[in-house]
Symmetry: C2
């Protein structure tokens, strides 16, 4: 029995990029990928345990979330260096979302995390298949920067309980601080010593060790890689100390028994009600995860003059999350620090990811007994040190100087994320930046323009020395004309002509008008009618091709009292009293200097 | 005791327009306003009873809603001809909103209607005081047109039960039809005869009587006014017939006993929970009511070269609604048909409204016993005939021809209003039109331009015969650069230079760039860096004043590899190989014909 399937190899390569790079795979690439994988694996073991803790899940979930997802991304992803797995912000968002529907430590909590990963994966994949990746563009850069900063603070605050050895909780800064304050009497001093030492050590590794290593003659790359292995050292030392002195008997919370197993098969779909509850959080996680991942992927690709395909990236991340959902994980995405390590360590193809998965699989099978005595405080320290590097308030200064609207959006995002949690914060940032953009376009900049002497160019009469004619007023609207500003334009023009009896012609100069929608068309018809009632002709100039195509489908050009000019200079020549006042003199007898004529 | 209050008379006149027109009031204006008031009063009596029925309230509520609100609008409003009171669409929205929180006929229902009017009044007043009237502009013309059409259909369908004499209900077309179908067996045939006759009579009055009257020698205005009195004739005849034959004993539903009273004092604020439930409906009613009212007011003002002040109109309508809330009414706004009648009948000042209120007050005190036998079917007939004139599907054809985006928004508004009710319909229309606008701006039109020979003007190479130079590519982005399209621009430019090795200069021509936000600035910095890596210089030309001001606050101009040119022709002269190829020849030795030189 033969199945006759016709298929398009190009299409197959688009959806399975592995076919593209896999066919050219060679020994050199294998060696490079292998070395990168070993380094990334060493770095990922403590990191994945820590992010599981942050997400409120047992440590093994972090390992599981790093194995199958990485392999699936290898097949479907387009970035050569992206390392997929649990990341700080997404883990925090997972904790916030799942914490709303289940209590931490219950079976329902783990299932909800799987459901969240499944929903997020399905959404990412759908966005990719329908090529809706552009939706992520509605998250403005400043909003992302503010959100990441605020999330970093929230994450660090959420880990303080592990450093202090107390029970506390909460998903907003106020709740976290309140909860820490209430339980402050329960501080476990040994835990505190371990936690603070680990944190101090890791900060030193990050800030102090690297210059030291460089001085010692290590290359900057190698110094970087050694630095990144700092958390492993902290894990080894604190685990040994805790194990040797049996500090768990003194109240130091440890990771404890972790099953020795490859990722288990898990079923992520439970109740429809749960899926409905997690729908919005999953969407936010998908978008934030995608934005984080695509920025990393594009930054790294640019360094090697490669390109990533955003829609295929969505499919890759979708597959990774669905993989996480079926293998005991939780939502994942492309992480910044691990991808940079992967890139710096020389990873050439996504195969490096597959080898990393292999390494983590071995760790899950054989190494878990070794971390029985690992203090949770150590993991919390690695998280705190990692996320504090995300905290950067510079964006507030930058946007304050450059754009008050962007500043407002960032400030709102930061404050709301801290005070009301990640979901409210990022949603408010998106809505506010869209609202501010719409507000600005609803009250567009309108300039009255005149001829710049010696050119055929027209500029704002208030900013440039230009020539004008009393009976001809040229109005340049610096915005597309659409429903939100149609009435504004109508009011502006009618007010302008009401105060000036000399006007015989109004030219609407349209180089900045990229669209005229139905509402604006009605406004223009009204303006045309009202000006005609006053004996004033309305003209258009510099109407763009696509806008003109559209206008030709309407009655407007037929009803227009004046003409449409290809460019403003032609309008001035036809309508202005030019010969008397000599406006066209400069272009005809240009007073050009030699340089200008060159 | 003297109180020393310093006040600004201009400010007082802004908030109390009555001080302006009141000081110039004379006998002629009084006579004109009086005549208009008599005509409008006669028209308003059946109309206000009918709209109370539509809102699910007792008939007297319609009279009450027309008395104090009209007087308050007289004091605070700026339109000379606007007649405020219950209108069809707002009454329908009231029925839909109040129907969700209380059962028709209960005391809670009437209270909820008062609360709704109070909330709506407070919102309108707040919008006016904070000058937020521009928010109404986000309701695009096509969405309004679609919404009014769909509402007209819903209203007509909701009145069929009165024509058929059966009990039915529902706030969506499907529910209405279903409910009518279920109760079809209960048809009261006498009611049906009255209802159908009244409807047919009123249609004839509207379509057939006016030409007849004109033929008989009446002036077109008088013919119009007589036509508008048609409902009064229908009311008188059907009331007489019903009373004489005691048809109410045969199951014909009548208006019955209506209290003889001036508007009572009512307290609109009951529970906080109720106010929360009615918050969104009140907001929608406020916006729809304001949009309807301001369009009527502006249309009528334009005919007499007057202007209305939108923010003061909000205050006027807010006061009217608060007045309705405290005097047994329900939400009101400026109505189209009554305002046109008022205008055509010669109303000169808002005093005409006050006189109308006086007339309705007299009616409420003395005439209500006369309408005891008025069949509800007659009121339903006046509603149906009035609203069917609102139904106009032409907007679908217009937008289909002109703009598919607008068409989509209209179609969605119509379908969702019919199938899911007024609130969902209008909200979806607003959200969809904003989303489609954002979508369009997120994928802007980008043109590569060249010099139009014989001018200094640059146009699209694909649309015009223009001159270009291989090493210089000029890209004109037809959109403001902001977060939603920043990445799109980056991809476009980098793809464009990747495919063409000859390029040495990229000029970004910015006449259509009305804003560059922080996200776009970062994208430009990235483009500048990446082009520089490839040995290509990035230049800007025709950057607008406000955009340039902003850029000067950033590092970008300092980092920019190329220059900023005031106009594109200067960029071409400086960068293009112009002397060799003779691009600048035309402007220097213009081949102008005599007309062109004129």
């Amino acid at each position: 029995m033969s199945l006759n399937v016709s298929f398009n190899p190009r299409l197959l390569k688009r959806y399975l990029p592995i076919l593209d790079w896999g066919s050219k795979y060679n020994r050199q690439a294998f060696a490079n990928d292998g070395i990168a994988a070993i380094i990334v694996t060493i770095m990922l073991i403590p990191q994945s345990l820590a992010y599981a803790l942050l997400a409120g899940l047992p440590p093994e979930a972090g390992l599981y979330a790093s194995i199958v997802p990485i392999m699936l991304y290898t097949v479907f992803g387009t970035s050569r260096a992206l390392a997929v797995g649990p990341v700080a912000v997404v883990s925090l968002m997972t904790a916030a979302a799942v914490g709303q529907v289940a209590d931490q430590g219950t079976a329902g909590y783990a299932t909800a995390a799987l459901t969240l990963a499944f929903l997020s994966g399905a959404m990412l994949m759908a966005l990719g298949l329908f090529r809706l990746g552009f939706l992520a563009n509605f998250l403005s850069h400043p909003v992302i920067a503010g959100f990441i900063t605020a999330s970093g603070i929230l994450i660090a605050a959420s880990q303080l309980k592990h450093i202090l050895g107390i029970d506390a909780g909460g998903h907003t800064l106020v709740h976290l601080i309140e909860s820490l304050w209430v339980h402050l009497g329960q501080i476990n001093w040994i835990t505190l010593v371990i936690g603070v030492s680990a944190t101090a050590f890791l900060f030193w590794v990050r800030k102090g060790l690297k210059p030291l290593l460089k001085k010692a003659g290590l290359g900057p790359r190698l110094a970087d890689v050694v630095t990144k292995a700092g958390p492993v050292a902290a894990v080894v030392v604190t685990t040994l100390v805790t194990g040797v002195f049996h500090l768990d008997g003194q109240g130091v919370k440890i990771v404890g028994a972790v099953p020795q197993s490859l990722p288990p098969f898990t079923w992520p779909v439970s109740s429809l009600a749960l899926m409905q509850q997690l729908f919005v959080p999953a969407l936010l996680i998908s978008i934030i995860g995608f934005v984080e991942s695509i920025s990393v992927a594009q930054t790294l690709a640019a360094k090697k003059r490669q390109r990533v395909n955003p829609d295929q990236e969505l499919i890759g991340l979708g597959a990774a999350n669905i993989g996480a959902a079926f293998t005991g994980g939780f939502p994942v995405t492309g992480g910044f620090s691990r991808s940079v390590v992967n890139f710096d360590a020389g990873a050439e193809t996504p195969a490096a990811g597959a080898f990393t998965a292999l390494g983590l699989g071995i760790a899950a099978l054989f190494l878990t007994p070794l971390i029985y005595f690992l203090p949770k405080a150590t993991l919390a320290a690695t998280i705190i040190v990692a996320v504090l590097s995300l905290v950067d308030f510079k964006i507030l200064k930058t946007t304050w100087d450059y754009s008050k609207a962007d500043f407002t959006a960032v400030l709102a995002t930061i404050i709301l994320t801290l005070l009301s949690g990640v979901e409210v914060g990022v949603s408010a940032g998106v809505i506010l930046s869209i609202a501010l953009h719409l507000y600005k376009t609803s009250k567009p900049h309108i300039a009255e323009v005149g001829l710049v002497p010696g050119t055929q160019h027209f500029r704002n009469v208030l900013r440039h020395e230009v020539r004008t004619t009393p009976e001809l007023v040229t109005i340049r609207v610096d915005e597309s004309l659409y429903f939100a500003n149609a009435r504004f334009l109508e009011d502006y023009i009618l007010d302008r002509v009401a105060e000036d009896q000399a006007i015989k012609h109004v030219v609407l100069m349209c180089p900045a008008v990229n669209e005229i929608d139905t509402s604006a068309l009605e406004a223009l018809e009204e303006i045309n009618r009202r000006l005609a009632d006053n004996g004033i002709l309305l003209h258009l100039s510099e109407v763009k091709g696509p806008v003109m195509d559209r206008l030709q489908k309407s009655h407007f050009l037929h009803d227009l009292s004046g003409q449409v000019f290809l460019h403003q200079f032609a309008a001035m020549k036809a309508l202005g009293d030019v010969t008397d006042e000599g406006h066209t003199t400069p272009p005809e007898n240009p007073p050009t200097s030699p340089e200008e004529a060159a």
